[in-house]
């Protein structure tokens, strides 16, 4: 196993996602298999090769600094599970 049960739980919490015990077991097995497969890349000599983050010959695309109307807040809040007074409503963030 390339990845432990604790690591699965740790990674899930880095993303703020809970998992059931059964999911942790299955993911430990599947992720280990896939991560083992990734080792094939270690055979490739990439000494001095720059990374590619995207394939376009574009850099720092800027727009003109002109004010434009945004979406009406009621349109945006229409999809919110809970809202109040023009804000998204959530449970307490601080204990």
């Amino acid at each position: 196993m390339a990845i432990t049960r604790e690591e699965v739980q740790h990674v899930a919490m880095l993303f703020r996602m809970s998992l059931s015990e059964e999911e942790i077991t299955r993911l430990q097995h599947q992720l280990s298999q896939i991560i083992d497969y990734f080792q094939v890349l270690q055979q490739v000599d990439t000494e001095g090769v720059p990374p590619t983050s995207h394939t376009l010959a574009l850099e720092n695309v800027m727009r003109d600094d002109e004010p434009r109307p945004s979406y009406p807040s009621e349109d945006i809040l229409a999809n919110a599970p809970l809202s109040e007074g023009g804000f998204f409503r959530v449970r307490a963030v601080l204990e």
Partner: protein, 485 residues
């Protein structure tokens, strides 16, 4: 011939001559949906009322002499593309009730051109998958054999075109998600160059790889849809500020002067013998039409593309999917006692298995201590893959390969083994890594199942791809084959 079997160009000619109204055509397509959808299940949402209203609007436009080639032609839109006021679910429980507050760039363009939208097409959740079995709602069935998958992730779009439940469709392609289902369903599917079509309003999966494209019944239709949806849009800073040619000018049947390369590495281990024979026959046909063929092109890093992709795509996906927090929109699980706990529960219960698997892979690959070994390494290998393509395109105008190593597999066959499922995209992933345009065109049948040939070219050379695809198509009858439903 039934009205629903028409291509865009055939229907547009009848509409222009007033031998057919958009209302009649749309009615015929909707009736076809009622006839076969129970078996195919290509759609998440069917928008019958909207389609009929848009058809009437189109008929008025045609009567006023204001018609464009797509005016009044019924289409399906993959459910990852935002349609204002029409549910856009991404095949996910997370967005089951999401109503986009805006139009995607491509739907805006199609609406301007006189779109008739018959529905939103089913897909693997958040476009992650190769079989459409990862839809949170239902799988889609291959119209050629209902026991088999249509491919994915744009399986609903491909099946809808193949089953004549629409005249054309839009899909999206991050690692083969237009081309592989097009091949498995026997239709034309085109992934243009990264940057050719604005991704504004395309719900993000992997932002450096995602691209929208058409699924159509033939290459002429593909060019007609490209003419409407291609081009720069300031709302997508990765859309290319380049002029768009009239793609119908590429539709010529002469391949003299075209240099074709056949990369050996794409005849992968485990490839179906009949698929291989169909690809070789397709290349021979292109040679008969005047093309020069080099059968010995080599792209040595091809074997690393899959691992490279399954690091880069999940890493980008993980960053994109962090927006689903149960607060702003979408599914919200509020059984917890704090905002953080609710976020954790929302993701556990809102995402399906494959999406969670990719989130976990991406989070792992980007986490402290692993970044250099996985993500950075994959980005460097990405450079090597691009350089090999650049070198090949110094000597060849197009490269020709298989799209999928096998025809459509059985529903359920690969669900338990993610790595086997990932391998079905081995021939399509490298083009996303390199940002190249590539098309899938029908080139054969094996035991009654369609096979597709892939044609790719250097960035922004869509015209050469369409020329080769069209000449090949016109010299064969594969695109005329239809499933018996």
């Amino acid at each position: 011939m039934e009205l629903y079997d028409l291509t865009i160009h055939e229907a547009a000619a009848l509409l222009a001559r007033r031998e057919l109204s958009s209302r009649e055509l749309t009615r015929a397509v909707l009736d076809r949906i009622h006839q076969v959808e129970e078996r195919v299940e290509a759609f998440v949402t069917i928008t019958e009322e909207l389609a009929l209203k848009q058809a009437d609007d189109a008929d008025k436009r045609i009567a006023a002499g204001d018609a464009a080639p797509l005016t009044g032609i019924p289409a399906a839109i993959k459910d990852v593309i935002c349609t204002k006021g029409v549910p856009t679910t991404c095949g996910s429980r997370m967005l089951a009730n999401f109503l986009p507050p805006y139009q995607a760039h491509v739907t805006e363009r199609l609406l301007d051109a006189g779109l008739v939208m018959v529905g939103k097409a089913n897909m693997d959740e958040f476009a992650m998958g190769s079989s459409t079995e990862n839809s949170a709602f239902h799988p889609t069935h291959n119209p050629w054999d209902l026991e088999r998958v249509p491919g994915g992730s744009s399986g609903g779009s491909a099946a809808a075109v193949a089953a004549s439940e629409c005249i054309y469709a839009l899909g999206s392609d991050t690692g083969g998600s237009i081309r592989q289902p097009a091949a498995l369903c026997g239709v034309v599917g085109f992934k243009p160059t990264y940057g050719r079509i604005s991704r504004f309003g395309l719900v993000a999966f992997a932002s450096s790889l995602d691209q929208i494209g058409p699924l159509t019944k033939d290459v002429t239709d593909c060019a007609l849809v490209m003419n409407v949806i291609a081009g720069h849009d300031r709302r997508d800073s990765t859309s290319a500020p380049l002029d768009v040619p009239d793609y119908t000018q590429s539709l010529i049947t002469d391949l003299r002067g075209i240099r074709i390369g056949v990369p050996q590495e794409y005849f992968v281990e485990g490839m179906d013998g009949q698929v291989r024979a169909s690809i070789e026959a397709a290349v021979n046909k292109m040679a008969e039409l005047g093309a020069e063929v080099d059968w010995q092109v080599s792209l040595p890093s091809t074997g690393y593309a899959l691992a490279c992709y399954y690091i880069i795509a999940p890493s980008e996906a993980m960053a994109n999917l962090a927006r689903y927090d149960g607060v702003k929109y979408g599914y919200s699980d509020r059984r917890g006692d704090s905002m953080w706990r609710n976020m954790e529960l929302t993701r556990q219960h809102g995402f399906g298995d494959e999406v969670k698997r990719r989130i976990m892979l991406g989070t792992y690959a980007l986490s402290a201590g692993y970044y250099d070994a996985y993500y950075l390494k994959a980005q460097k290998v990405r450079t090597l893959i691009r350089r090999e393509f650049d070198a090949a395109f110094q000597r060849c105008d197009v490269l020709v390969t298989a799209v999928s190593p096998t025809p459509a597999f059985k529903l359920g066959e690969k669900v338990a083994d993610p790595l086997q499922m990932y391998l079905s995209d081995v021939c399509t992933i490298p083009m996303n890594i390199a940002g190249l345009p590539a098309i899938s065109v029908p080139c054969g049948l094996t035991e009654g199942l369609p096979v597709g040939v892939q044609i790719m070219a250097k960035p922004f050379d869509e015209t050469t791809i369409l020329r080769v695809a069209y000449a090949y198509e016109q010299a064969t009858d594969w695109h005329k084959a239809r499933p018996n439903l």
